[in-house]
């Protein structure tokens, strides 16, 4: 079937089978390998992407079923060479160990911070409870989310101040 997908604000016209998951399409058809594949049974969160601003699992999303939705993957966050504030915070806080879970962690973090730039610890844990870090680097991941939230809030305030001048 012909399917039009909007991924990272770009349109893709694809010929897909009904049983192809978004994860398979991203990695195998569009070479967007930033979205990782691991358990493939909803346990680990490495395949997390954002659909309409919400963190979801691409391994149980049928690609043909998300036509018309805004899909954002880890590749869609950076602006050229400038990392997204969440990506930058993960680097600055040393939150990355083996790194395999990080794209999923970042997508869940972005979805949270776009809705709530100053989350409480409980809210961070609630938002990231579907992402498992095998290296158990959670404290620095949580720290990065808090730092990124502050930066995102400050940049919003700065741009609003600039506009009002």
């Amino acid at each position: 079937m012909s399917v039009n997908l909007t991924i990272n604000k770009k349109q893709y016209s694809l010929e897909l089978k009904g049983n192809e998951t978004l994860l398979e399409v991203l990695r195998d058809k569009l070479s967007m390998t930033g979205t990782k594949t691991a358990c493939q049974e909803t346990e680990c969160g490495t395949c997390t992407v954002m659909i309409n601003g919400k963190a979801v699992l691409s391994c149980i999303t049928l690609a043909a079923n998300v036509q018309g939705d805004e899909i954002t993957t880890i590749e869609g966050l950076a602006q050229g060479d400038v990392l997204h504030p969440v990506q930058q915070a993960y680097v600055d806080c040393g939150s990355v160990q083996c790194g395999f879970c990080i794209p999923g962690m970042i997508m869940s973090s972005v979805a949270l911070l776009e809705k709530k730039p100053e989350p409480t610890q409980e809210e961070i844990e609630y938002a990231l409870d579907g992402n498992i870090c095998r290296c158990a680097g959670y404290p620095k991941i949580f720290q990065a989310v808090r730092e990124a939230g502050k930066k995102m809030k400050n940049s919003v305030i700065a741009s609003e101040a600039k506009q009002s001048l």
């Binding site: 998951t21 493939q40 909803t42 149980i60 049928l62 079923n65 018309g68 579907g130």
Partner: protein
């Protein structure tokens, strides 16, 4: 491919979906997909056949949303668990639904899974059933002729949670006397499968308990009521000892099904604590 070949059907309206649901053979309804697609993947790895037709309700706007009118809360079938969790309409004893949603699985799953999927997926350990029974919810189904059937949640689960028609929404009547409490225990710290869920609801007038309903999910059978316990509670007044006394009036068969001593103990601790919370 993670899934066997299938044909994806994308109806444009709930009536079209109801017609397709009746017409299509070897079909399954796709709501959030967190149960269905996961189990289809698992069955494929075991070499088992899976449904050839998948009927997606994903883009049917008339099946989404939560509303409140005439003392009745309506939750449409395609409402995501996190949407219900965030709903400002969960006031009074309906606040219990907030607690239920909060405890379901993980955040990406709560963003995808739907209330309809949770109630109709026919897994015995899903947690919404016990709560809907305790809240005396009505489940609404749409036939291919456009006619609506209404079934109580209690009867739905008593009859094996089978959907002959398209499940469209659930309604819950609200009254100002109602009090509700919910407990859920997961299998292990790391495996988020509910081992049990209990929900106690009563109309509290003064200290007297009326119209008590106890919804139980023992993880083995579909959610059910404990009539014996309800009968006891309806003759009772709130007191410090009510939780303890109530444990002498359980329908033991519900709690003893394939249960370990530990599970039976946890059931009793949960019920006692739920009843005590209402008494406070």
């Amino acid at each position: 491919m993670l899934l066997n070949p299938l044909t994806l059907h994308l109806p444009k309206s709930s009536l079209e979906a109801a017609k397709l649901y009746k017409e299509l053979e070897d079909s399954k309804v796709l709501a959030g997909g967190t149960f269905l697609l996961n189990s289809m993947k698992l069955l494929k790895t075991k070499g088992t056949k899976t449904a050839r037709n998948i009927l997606s309700l994903g883009h049917l706007e008339d099946l989404k949303g939560v509303s409140f009118q005439n003392d009745t809360l309506t939750i449409k079938t395609m409402t995501r668990i996190n949407e219900l969790f965030e709903s400002p309409l969960l006031n009074g004893h309906l606040r219990i639904l907030h607690t239920v949603c909060r405890n379901i699985s993980t955040n990406p799953i709560r963003n995808m899974a739907t209330v309809g999927g949770n109630l109709t997926c026919r897994y015995t350990w899903t947690e919404m059933g016990a709560v809907m029974i305790a809240l005396d919810a009505n489940m609404h189904f749409l036939g291919p002729d456009g006619k609506e059937d209404i079934v109580t949640a209690e009867n739905f689960f008593k009859n094996g949670a089978r959907c002959e028609k398209l499940f469209t929404h659930v309604t819950i009547k609200v009254n100002s006397h109602a009090r509700c409490s919910y407990r859920r225990v997961r299998k292990t710290l790391h495996v988020d499968i509910p081992m049990l869920a209990v929900c106690v609801k009563t109309d509290l007038i003064g200290k007297q308990w009326y119209n008590s309903r106890v919804g139980i999910n023992n993880g083995v059978a579909f959610a059910q009521r404990d009539h014996l316990l309800e009968e006891f509670l309806n003759k009772s007044f709130s007191s410090a000892d009510l939780g303890k006394e109530a444990l002498e009036h359980l329908t033991t068969a519900i709690y003893d099904t394939r249960s370990s001593d530990y599970k039976q103990h946890i059931f009793r601790v949960s019920l006692k604590s739920a009843i005590e919370e209402i008494c406070q």
